[in-house]
């Protein structure tokens, strides 16, 4: 679906995208994370053939950026950072305009389908300017889907939305994912990325890392298991530190926090050891680092 190789974009003295090399297969939801000004929107613009690369290559839906731009624009859907609706025109007119520009075969049918799907059918005759931010965002998503693209670029789809609207949009993205569409999702919302994305790429002018959220957590922080004991003491922690597969074991209040690679296999052994030493285990749980921790760690090190 997307394949880039050393894709670079330079604006006079500013290097916006530096040798980006990624592959995103069909059906994947790819989260593109990075701080403001990292070059995320520039990357989306490059991949949707809105701007041309300075160097490097990119294939989108099998079409080459810079050479087959019209074909790329015809085959992808984009939700831009700002909805950019025609506020004086009705929701229906807005969508009909884009359906015709995308040469949709049954424009009326498609417009009705998405207006109904996103709960805007009853408001179809209202001017887009009278819509709330969330409704405008939904309208913009409908606009991106009218021509049924298999590849969608969503730039900050829930930015500035209230929790309810954000949830609606997220649920809709989830629906799109179930339909098997490929989604390139730029977001600042790390929880959203964690929930929706198969893989994430952390980007700051150049790609820092690409992997699944789970794998990134493990790489950066290892897996941590918390043993809640009735009465913990440092001797118990010290005995665990002696095990070859334990990377770290420390006391945190009445808990022992153990970092290790394969808890599924090693936990029973640790439990046996602790019980053998007289510890009373209340419960055991895995401590999950949030994607936010992963993100900050990566960006800090960049």
């Amino acid at each position: 679906m997307i394949k880039t190789e050393n894709l670079t974009k330079q604006f006079s003295s500013t290097l916006a995208v530096d040798r980006l090399t990624i592959q995103i297969p069909e059906g994947e939801v790819f989260g593109f994370l990075g701080p403001n000004g990292a070059g995320k929107t520039t990357t989306v613009r490059l991949l949707t053939a809105l701007i041309g690369p300075t160097s490097g290559t990119a294939l989108v839906n099998g079409f080459q950026v810079g050479k087959q731009d019209t074909e790329i624009r015809r085959s992808v859907g984009i939700l831009t950072e700002s909805p950019g609706m025609y506020d004086n025109l009705s929701a229906e007119f807005n969508l009909m305009t884009f359906a015709n520009l995308y040469e949709v075969k049954d424009p009326k049918g498609q417009v009705e389908k998405y207006l109904r799907m996103l709960g805007l059918w009853e408001r179809r005759q209202d001017e887009a300017g009278t819509f709330s931010k969330g409704m405008k965002q939904k309208l913009a998503i409908a606009r991106a889907l009218l021509h049924e693209p298999r590849l969608l670029f969503l730039d900050e789809p829930t930015a500035g939305l209230d929790p309810e609207s954000a949830r609606l949009v997220r649920d809709f993205i989830e629906e799109l994912r179930k339909e098997g569409r490929t989604i390139f999702l730029c977001t600042h919302n790390l929880d959203e990325a964690d929930r929706l994305c198969d893989r994430i790429g952390v980007f700051k002018t150049h790609l820092l890392v690409v992997d699944t959220p789970e794998s990134l957590r493990n790489q950066l922080f290892g897996r941590k298991v918390v043993f809640h004991l009735k009465a913990a003491n440092d001797d118990l922690a010290a005995s665990l530190r002696g095990l070859p597969y334990v990377r770290e074991a420390k006391m945190v209040e009445d808990k022992i926090l153990v970092t290790l690679d394969n808890p599924e296999e090693r936990n029973p052994e640790i439990i046996r050891l602790l019980v053998g030493q007289g510890a009373e285990i209340q419960f055991v749980g895995e401590l999950r680092h949030s994607l936010e921790d992963v993100y900050f760690q990566l960006v800090k090190n960049a």
Binding site: F11, T42, R45, T48, L50, I51, G52, T70, E71, R73, R74, I78, T80, S82, P83, G84, M85, Y86, D87, N88, L89, F93, T97, F98, N100, L101, Y102, E103, A140, R143
Partner: protein, 262 residues
């Protein structure tokens, strides 16, 4: 062609919701049509007995020998006003065209629009026609109303013949649309380069200056428009239009427009 029609429909639906634009498209043709009719009405009783020989040479140039001095004066005064019909297609579309690109920038609708498979030529043709058609139609309609009004007021075949000689028909039906093309493309060019709609309108208004020079040139007697001059003017205008259209397309750099706009 389907995409051009879509842009045209969208532009009109948007533009004609703006009362100021509707006002400028209706008010200016009304005013510019009424003015020459008022002149004709005011001079309807000009001394019909006076002869051509009493008139200054530049007046007499306009008139055939069968017109009296009064009739000739009537023709002369009305001819000055006829330039208003050349101004209309130049002025009316400025508002629409100047806003066409920068307006999309300010409402942030340009990026989704450029993300569609529309070509630059299709987009600019749609924007061009959306601004040109109302201006040219309003001009022609105003001219038609003027012709009927003039006949009612003057009711004189000789004067009507002088008023509606081929030169003015050429000016209104050929030079007029050519001027609209110039005005629209110049305004679109400005609109795609600036970031503020007010700046776009101010800069686009510059296009009227050459025609004002012709207007004042003729009023002051520096020169008189005749068929040859209007024909020459139209040919030069067609050439300038070609250059301006080329420049408008060349200067419409999608990337620059998107990335320079904050």
């Amino acid at each position: 062609m389907q995409k051009v029609k879509t842009i045209l429909r969208k532009e009109w639906a948007e533009v004609f919701k703006n009362r100021m634009v509707v006002f400028s498209v209706i008010f200016m043709p009304l005013l510019f049509t009424a003015l020459p009719l008022i002149f004709l009405f005011a001079t309807r009783d000009a001394g019909l007995s006076e002869t051509n020989s009493d008139l200054p040479a530049q007046f007499a140039k306009l008139c055939s020998p069968e017109l009296s001095g009064g009739q000739c004066f009537q023709v002369y005064m009305s001819s000055q006003m006829m330039i208003l019909f050349m101004m209309m297609p130049l002025i009316i579309p400025v508002n629409i065209a100047a806003y066409s690109i920068v307006g999309e920038k300010t409402t942030r609708s340009l990026e989704p629009l450029l993300a569609t498979p529309i070509t630059t030529a299709e987009l600019l043709t749609g924007k061009n026609l959306a601004a040109m058609i109302p201006a040219v139609l309003a001009t022609w309609l105003g001219f038609g109303v003027y012709a009927i009004g003039a006949w009612i007021i003057v009711h004189d075949v000789a004067v009507m013949k002088a008023l509606f000689d081929p030169m003015w028909l050429l000016a209104v039906f050929v030079a007029g649309p050519l001027m609209a093309i110039l005005s629209v493309n110049f305004s679109i060019m400005v609109s795609s380069r600036v970031n503020d709609p007010r700046v776009a309108e101010q800069l686009s208004a510059v296009v009227i200056v050459p025609l004002l020079a012709i207007f004042f040139g003729q009023i002051s007697g520096l020169f008189f428009l005749d068929s040859k001059l209007v024909l020459l003017f139209s040919l030069v205008l067609a050439l300038i239009d070609g250059v301006v259209v080329y420049l408008a397309v060349r200067l419409f750099q999608r990337e620059t427009i998107l990335t320079r706009w904050k």
